[in-house]
C-alpha cells in the first residue's frame, strides 16, 4: 500500500513538473516578477499541512510549530496574491490614437 502511494506520488510530481515547465515557458518575460510572487503564493499551499498539524492537538510543541507554519504560509498567501494583483494592474498597453 505504502509502496503504491510512493509511486503514484512520484507520477504526480513528474507530471506536474512537466506541466509547470510547459506553462511557465509561455509566461511573458514582462511578467517574470509577478510570476515569482504568484508561484510563491501558490506554493504557500503548504498551509494545508500546517493546518493539520496545528489542529490535531498532539502536543503543545507540535501545535505551536504548526501555528507558526500557518502564520508564515498565510503571510505568503495574502501578501503574494495582493502584490501580484497590484503589479499586474500597472501593466497597460499604449493608448491607440483614434
Amino acid at each position: 500500500m505504502a509502496e503504491l502511494d510512493l509511486w503514484s506520488m512520484l507520477f504526480v510530481f513528474m507530471l506536474a513538473t512537466f506541466v509547470g515547465f510547459q506553462v511557465i515557458q509561455n509566461v511573458s518575460r514582462l511578467l517574470h516578477t509577478p510570476l515569482m510572487s504568484l508561484t510563491n503564493a501558490i506554493s504557500a499551499i503548504a498551509i494545508v499541512g500546517a493546518i493539520l498539524v496545528a489542529g490535531e492537538e498532539e502536543s503543545t510543541a507540535t501545535t505551536i510549530l504548526g501555528a507558526v507554519a500557518v502564520a508564515a504560509s498565510m503571510t505568503n498567501i495574502v501578501s503574494g496574491f495582493l502584490i501580484t494583483d497590484r503589479m499586474l494592474k500597472m501593466f497597460r498597453e499604449r493608448e491607440r490614437k483614434p
Binding site: 510512493l6 509547470g20 511573458s28 518575460r29 511578467l31 517574470h32 501558490i42 493539520l52 498565510m74 502584490i83
Partner: protein
Amino acid sequence: MIHGLTQLTYLAAAALFILSLRWLSHPKTARRGVGAGVGGMALAILGTLFAPEIINFSWIAIAALVGIVIGVPLSWVPLTAVPQRTALSHAFGGLAAGLVGTAKYMIWFQHGELTKFRTGAIVLEIILGYLTFTGSLMAAGKLQEIVPTRPITYPNQNVFNLGLLAIAIGAGVYLTIDPYLPWAFGLIILLSLAFGVLLILPIGGADMPTVISLLNSYAGLSAVAMGFVLENKLLITAGALDGSSGLILSIIMCRAMNRSFTNVLFGAFGQVQAVTAAGEAKTAKSATPQDVAELLTTADRVVVVPGYGMAVAQAQHRVRELYDQLTKRGVDVRFAIHPVAGRMPGHMNVLLAEAEIPYDALVEMDDINPDLAQTDVALVVGANDVVNPAARHDKNSPIFGMPIIDVDKAKSVIAIKRSMNPGFAGIDNELYYLDHTLMAFGDAKQVLTDVVKALSDEGTGH
C-alpha cells in the same frame, strides 16, 4: 484517510493553480490568473478545515489572523523593494516546510510510526526548508542592505560549505536507516540553517536575480517534499509548479549572464577581478542636462536602457516624464530590457509599468539589438555591466561572453551615472570612453529632472 469532499477540493485547486499560471502568459489575461489562484487556495483551505483530524480551530484562527496582519502591509511595499519582499516570502515558505517537517517527526516519533519512507521524506523537507529559510533571510538582508552586499569570502569557503551540506545529508541517510535518533534530527536542522547562511554570504548583489530564482525553486521543492511526507498530491502539484518556475527563471538568468549555476553559487563574482588596465589614461566626455536635452530633441529614435541605478534613485517616474516629453515631439522612444537588469527577474518591467509606461514600449534584449544601429540616441539610466562592449570582444574581461545590449552601436550614447567608479562587479566599462558617448554625471533622478525641465522650457519657448 482524507475523505472525498476534501480530495475533491484539492483536485479542483490543482486545476485552478495550473490555469492561474496559464493565464499569466499575457498581461491581458494575467489578472484572471490571480483570481484563479485565490479561488484554488480558498477551496483547498476550506476542504482542509473539513478534515476530521482537526479538533481545535482556535490556534489555526489566531495564526491565520497573524498571517493576514503581517501579509497585508507586506503587499504595500514600494515596487523598488519587491526583490526583498520576494526573498522574505521564500524565507516564510521554507520556514513553514521546515516546521511542519519537524512537527511530523515529533508526532510520529511519539507514536512509533516513523517508517524509512516517512523519515527520508522529512529529511528532504527539513534540509530544503531550513536552508531556504536562512538563505532567503540572508538574501533579503543583502537586498535591503542590512547585510553587506559585497561578496563575503574566506579561505576554503566552498570546501567548508559543501562539507557542512555533506554532513547534513550523511546524517539524513543515517537517520533514514535508523529513524529514532533525535540527536541526528537536531543536527540536520542546525546544519541546514547554517548552510543557508553560508551559501548566500559569498554572493554579490549582481547575482541576486539568479539566487532569488534558485531559492524560489528550493521553496517549491520543500513544499513537494512536504507533500511526500503528508501523502498529499495537491502539495506535490503546487510545489512542483513553483519548483519548475524557479528553475526556469534561474536558467534564463544564468544564460543572460553566460554563467553556470556552480559559477553563480561558488564563484564569488565581483571579488576576483579587481585588476583593470590602469595604465592608459582614458578620458570620458561629460555633458550637462541641457546638452542631453538638446541631443534628445534632434533624435528620431531613442532607446532607453534602465538598470539597477534607476531603481536605487527611484527615477522611474522621471523616466516616464522624459518619455512623455519626447513622444509628444514625435520621437520614437523604446526601452531595452536586459534579463538580469535589476535585482530579480522582470524587475525593470514592473518599475516602468508602475510609472505607467505602456508595456508594448518595453522590448527584450534580443529583439532590440538589431535595431540599435538605426537608433539615434541610446540613453543608459543606471545600467552598467549589461551595456559593456567588453563582453563581446575582451577575452580577459570577467563578463566576456555575457549577452549585452549593443548600445555602443547607436549613433550616440548618453550614460547617466553617479561617478566614474566602476559598477558593482568592479569592472571598468569601455563604453564610457567611446567617441560618441557622453556622460551625464549625477543622481539619475536629479539628472533626469533637469533634462525634463530643459525640454519643457524649450517646449514653451517656441
